[in-house]
Symmetry: D2
Subunit: 350 residues, 4 copies
């Protein structure tokens, strides 16, 4: 297979690191450029000693110059903070590169909504219109033809995959949905902060940003499209003392007395073309370690007989499925590759 050169713009965060990990054994992509403002000048293995001995280790980290990078790399992964990403994406797109943006900058179709939640004016509204939301199970065909893919947020990946088929098939009520999500600490990023020091996180558990997390509008946008009407959900993120993984416990009200067996069948049909959404059998509930390092999204279903609620438990790896692996899956589609090329690893257990 002739490999395509790709660029990783922003290498020092956890999503940048995960991109490099996934790409380093990908049969269809070659890392042609790695950039970082702060670390330019080093080799990748000087920056990350654990990359020694891999074929990407000797790559030189460079300053992010779109013109230079796009000469060799026509597919670009942006792993830079929101706000910075929109201009960077535009610069690469101007160079005729195709962009998978891992930030939030192109996820919300409504620029006003973006401003309201992110406190920034959107500077690239034209590109915003062209951006495709990069959830392969929903937008596979459009992603294949896109120049700009807005890679979904980690929490939204977990929650949308859990709720989309049920809303589409009107199995449950779009009103009153709650997503109580729990994330590993890599989701908090790699910037040094007291609150995410080891001793502030380990052996403890906490909620944060209840009712106000920025991933909320992204979920609502996609779920509203599924249900066909404007809807609101309660989204509650929590921090778990673990590296990777998101588990979302989703509470919905059933529209009928449908049994979980039938619900499972509908979900299985909906996801029949994706290799990654796994419908757990009766009485099996997913665990985050079962998806560690993979693209899997595991879904478990329980009907609470006593309250009539349906509970859907969804597990993903926030860095792989919820960010960098999904970005590579989108690049696979954009490149005409099989969706799961280079993304078929079994989970690292334990």
């Amino acid at each position: 297979m002739q490999k395509k050169n790709v660029a990783v713009v922003g290498a020092t965060g956890y999503t940048g690191m995960e991109l490099i990990r996934v790409l380093s054994t990908h049969p269809g992509f070659e890392i042609g450029a790695v950039t970082s403002r702060s670390e330019a000048g080093k080799t990748l293995q000087e920056l990350f000693p654990y990359m020694q001995g891999t074929k990407s280790g000797s790559i030189a980290v460079t300053f992010p110059d779109p013109e230079l990078v796009a000469r060799d790399c026509k597919t670009v992964f942006l792993a830079v903070p929101h706000g910075a990403a929109m201009d960077m994406a535009a610069a690469f797109l101007d160079q005729k590169a195709r962009v998978v943006d891992l930030s939030a900058d192109f996820r919300l179709r409504d620029a006003a909504e973006y401003s309201a939640w992110y406190g920034l004016e959107h500077s690239r509204k034209t590109w915003l219109k062209e951006a495709v939301y990069g959830l392969p199970e929903i937008y596979r065909d459009r992603i294949a033809g896109a120049n700009l893919v807005a890679n979904p947020g980690c929490y939204p990946s977990s929650v949308i995959l859990a709720l989309y088929p049920g809303l589409k098939h009107k199995i449950f009520d779009p009103e009153g949905i709650i997503a109580d999500s729990k994330s590993g600490t890599s989701g908090a990023g790699r910037v040094a902060k007291t609150g995410t020091l080891f001793c502030e996180v380990t052996d403890s558990f906490r909620a944060y940003s209840l009712g106000s997390h920025r991933h909320t509008p992204e979920m609502e946008q996609e779920l509203s499209l599924a249900s066909g009407r404007d809807m609101r959900i309660s989204f509650s993120p929590h921090l778990v003392p673990m590296n990777r993984g998101i588990l979302s416990t989703c509470y919905v009200t059933l529209n009928s007395r449908m049994q979980t067996q039938e619900i499972r069948r509908i979900y299985r049909d909906f996801y029949q073309d994706t290799p990654w959404v796994r419908i757990m059998p009766e009485k099996v509930l997913p665990e985050t370690r079962w998806v560690r390092g993979t693209m899997f999204c595991d879904l478990g279903f329980v009907r609470d007989q006593r309250t009539g609620r349906l509970i859907i438990v969804s597990c993903i790896d926030n860095l792989c499925r919820g960010a960098s692996g999904q970005a590579v899956a989108n690049a696979n589609l954009m490149s005409g590759y099989d969706l799961d090329l280079g993304l078929d690893a079994a989970p690292l257990m334990p």
Copy 2:
């Protein structure tokens, strides 16, 4: 202070160990007997080398003989499995000892409900009628005069304290309440099982017993009393890779447009006589480590403006507040001591 002799019946589990820890520096109690079927014959420090050098270390662990134990110890803590506890409690009560039972055997007032959830006939229905539910914030006076206290479960302690005042004051609707709880692994007990091995729990997160956990009827019993009507809740337990702590995220629907400031005031009033329920200020959400090793129950309040829901976050230490510390608090009341005697430690941070 003249110390009273107390007995710890069942020393080898985590609640037995926590009883011994709390009692070993308690100014009003002396450990007069420690029993264990499997470990009788050892000293406490042979069983638990970490108890060397404490004044309880040289106590001999004996076989649980109620007649013998009750000669010296008129207050008995039962830390044995449910099912076994009811007969053991009766045997001690027959010896004129007063009993704090940490098992579930005397928590449900309705013996049929007990049978339904625990799959056992209740063999001590007469004593069941006398038992007092040992939540000091609600039953303080009755506990003081009780011969048999049913020490609350860990999850119920966390959820009832979070919801009781609001239901009592009709702040929110008794219908549709969800308690999404997350517990440290000590809650799963100290019996060797593959599922709670270190490598099966660490760096992972999972849900279990959704809609079917045995602590559900206990919550519903007490919350129904608070709200004045029979109510059901959705209770969802999860396992956190940490030693101690429960965080419950409780979702309720407000009956009015009441602001959290006012809700806090009502809660503060309700809990004014207890040293342990701490109402977090605006924008502060509790973390389980903040209550590590203590009797505190920390409550945080968030109104989700977009969905109209109130979210109450509750944190306790499942072993101290949720089991053994609470048992000692009940024994304090039964002995005429100050409620918090020997229970005023600051949290172990980090």
Copy 3:
């Protein structure tokens, strides 16, 4: 590539699970049989729900019948306890299958030494003579031609790779060597025991089997061969609250005033033909996460100027490099494949 059928005998432990993980994406091997006495009759994905959606998921777990298994699978991985492995290996060898035994049964060349450390008579002394110690960096050619490979222990893999070149090149004294090793808890196995429950391991650290661990004679056997004389080492294992990884801090006395730069050069030369031993640059010390899920063995060197000692720090993944990945590497050699076929993943970080 025409894939060869291989069998995994003993699937329920961590090394069995790791074999299945590594083999499930291996381009040269197909899992033809998975056996387990206790779990026969299930499919692999019923046993391990995280294997759903992988191509190995639907394999049926069978009872370990060598005759039946060897019909289809001429390469067999034994992941059964020591003691049981020797007869099982012989049974497979009698069926003309080639065996990689992950137990300790064929590691010690001297059957008397085996009896002394393992408390068992060796029942297969003829096969013992034929067995090749499966450390590819040392015995590459002999492994390629072997019918029976004794896969090294996890601690020995870490310590031997750290010390072998230095002893061979007489850089340091064979006398007085100390290996202070720290292992992740997966090394303790998956059998349910109180001592390896989550709450007994997390947030703690301990030493065990000081001066008496069964991996000691295995290290001494190979290091004696390196140094050309019978030698003893002090080996001290410790338990770390983490899933995977071994870090060995090795203390040796230099024979000369050689600088670490020169020592690094000698090590780099010695390991030039292996893709996996990485000599860390000056001032960089390896961390276990840097090798997570991989075959890498990272070596760091520090000369303690004040005491004249050389300290060699060695990191491996105990399950991959220290067990199942190494077993697959040996099977690669036995099959005429490239040493690192299917074993070139980058570390899972974080």
Copy 4:
């Protein structure tokens, strides 16, 4: 008991927090002042929400003004960085306050040694001469009369207690000693750094500062006094993914064929007046959780028959015994209190 007012200077680090925890239930001390440059103006419970509901919670954090603070508090705990502590200590001493300094500034008797290891000129050499090294087991009487106590470092507390009696009694050779120490991450402090983020520490293990850690000269100073001659040791610190605890594995060469039973007897005699050093029985090795939150130092002894080495394993809680609890013990002695007043808690298990 009439309580004495004490001041905590530097509240925001882990040692400051631990001082506040220990002092908040101490029967002989009242926290009269808490200072912090960065957090002055808040109450303690605003700074640390987990201090709500404790009697210290409403204390106002003030700017560290020695004159003002010393008016009310004649005993001062300094929990500020080395370098800053020496002038601060002098300022308090000038105000006739007695000082327990938790930094390294007064630990090394030789100012040149201080400069060599800390890269700073010592500005208070007169006070340096007066300072007493605050290890109560060795300097109990001198501490009682001291105006300035240099509170030992965490690693040195662990290593000195392990080796002192053996060197004093010439049980083993002062030459060639190795201390391979493993510390919980709280030892790395509470300043935000990438290297101590949760995701950089959890599920991993690493060595650092091998042969060059600043705690080395402190150990050598005290151990040289014990052995009666100038000695060097190899000290190797490692980082463990846990909150608290240090385990030091110390390797020494015995001077005779003395059995561990006899060695234990000598150690027991040496430490007969301290409530905290616990000599583990034969075959029991200490674990860091066994000392969590306490002043205990647990010592285990193993003779490696095959190499003739003695291995001493030492466990302490780095924050309590290794810093703040020990500081309070020193203040107890300085105040004429019982050594263990307020310091007799049982370990928090699990």
